[in-house]
Symmetry: C2
Subunit: 279 residues, 2 copies
């Protein structure tokens, strides 16, 4: 397995940082994560755009262009040669002499095997709980998942697969996924405020465009309980039906037709990208 | 310079973690920081108690006892032999195979030279701004300083030395220090809710006990503007007078008598600890 550290390709075990880096001193770093099928990265332009935007929003001065990052990732995928891979790119606050003010960022790109949910996972769907919390600087994809990780024992106790954050009675997002709802009158609704705008979210909205009515708006917590369908989406999960919220079934507790239809459209889109690249 | 990594002393440059550690993957780690004068650690029992409590609150299973940690720190101070040192001990979420759920923590202890504020810094005092923000899990000393670091450019623009957080019109704490106020009727007031309980804070309260009236309670933002004296306190700053808040002078803008008196009492206490150890 290979990785990339600052200016060179290294063996995966050499992808280390000294503890004086601000990621470990102050939890100060941004990252992005994309998926590759047969070494073909999916939606790489979107991920690079968001990565560079996150770095700028965290006041990092970065030297590499998107084209350079793209080249590094393509080469890393070629070297690692995995059927399904997750590529994680991270800029950290660097080795700050005062352990506080960011200096030249460290760049680390890693590539690991990724296990995607199966068709059985899709059919089974997931159970979620809601929890009152708002992430800091939600538009930046930072490494701050403190609350998400801290909540894991609660999730296990409640036999829940994931947690949906809400604030002021509006649900926002999952720690790593975006929420979508199909209303009783067949609208596709997804939150837009105080969230990280997901890449998969963007492509799902594009796929639904013209086929169904779309609303990007706040979703009240109580709306979840009368939804026709709910699902969540991300690069690592694609689309998974939410079949239970806080112990209550969503509709009849089975994956819904709109969710299925969007899932297959997303697979088709991904297939067209990998297909095109292999020509 | 030496450090300690998991189970052994290493050279400082070997104090590295692989990027798969949850500190870098998810910003999930706790730490504590203490000061040593002539290799004598100050208030080490308090720091070890808080460190172990932070680790437990983050659901970490740690194997080292407080006595073992104490022994390691004393040995590290002996090896590094610095006149003034800062010792930072950190437990991270470890090398989690799923990059999400904590496993066996990594322990890293480092020791670096520390520059303490001078008498001139004390006489000059500091300017602060207030900012609406509440830290997550404030009672845990975690590495999450994302907002504090993110605000640094704003502080520089406003020529401020530090930022005091407030929420619901009550001020809470600085990113790395506790706030104290002397009221017009000579009470010593300090916040107690939604903050990290500082070690220096604890000892200042003990020093003031019986000498002046003490109130541990919420402080309204507007109370700052009619305070007789304000100061902040921490292991790295000891006590520094706050002479300006949001561009307004505190009283006559000079260090006050109670602040000075507590500052000298704190120095005296520290001196008695290092004195005792050198006998």
């Amino acid at each position: 397995m290979a990785a990339y550290l600052n200016n060179r390709f290294v063996n995966n075990e050499e992808a280390v940082l000294h503890v004086s880096d601000l990621s470990m001193q102050r939890g100060y770093a941004v990252f992005d994560y994309l998926r590759a099928i047969n070494s073909v990265p999916i939606f790489i332009d979107d991920h690079l755009n968001r990565f560079v935007a996150s770095a700028a929003a965290m006041h990092f001065s970065i030297s590499k262009s998107k084209t350079e990052l793209d080249d590094i990732i393509v080469e890393l995928l070629r070297i690692t040669n995995l059927p399904v891979a997750g590529v994680r790119m991270m800029y950290t606050g660097g080795y700050a002499p005062d352990f506080y003010n960011p200096v030249e960022p460290n760049l680390v790109i890693t590539c690991n095997p990724l296990k995607l949910p199966t068709k059985e996972d899709f059919d089974k769907g997931i159970s979620i709980i809601t929890y009152e919390f708002q992430r800091d600087l939600p538009h930046i994809k930072s490494i701050n998942y403190q609350m998400a990780v801290w909540l894991q024992p609660l999730l296990k106790k409640q036999l829940a697969d994931d947690v949906l954050y809400f604030q002021n009675n509006s649900v926002t997002e999952f720690p790593r996924c975006n929420l979508f709802m199909i209303t009783a009158d067949d609208k596709l609704v997804t939150p837009v405020n105080n969230i990280l705008l997901g890449i998969t979210r963007k492509h799902i909205l594009a796929l639904a465009e013209g086929i169904m009515e779309i609303e990007e708006r706040d979703i009240k917590t109580e709306e979840l309980y009368c939804a026709k369908e709910l699902f969540y989406a991300s690069s690592t999960k694609r689309i998974l039906p939410v079949i239970q919220v806080d112990g209550k079934l969503v509709a009849d507790g089975k994956p819904g037709d709109v969710t299925k239809s969007l899932y297959y459209k997303l697979l088709e889109l991904e297939f067209s990208i990998t297909e095109l690249a292999s020509r």
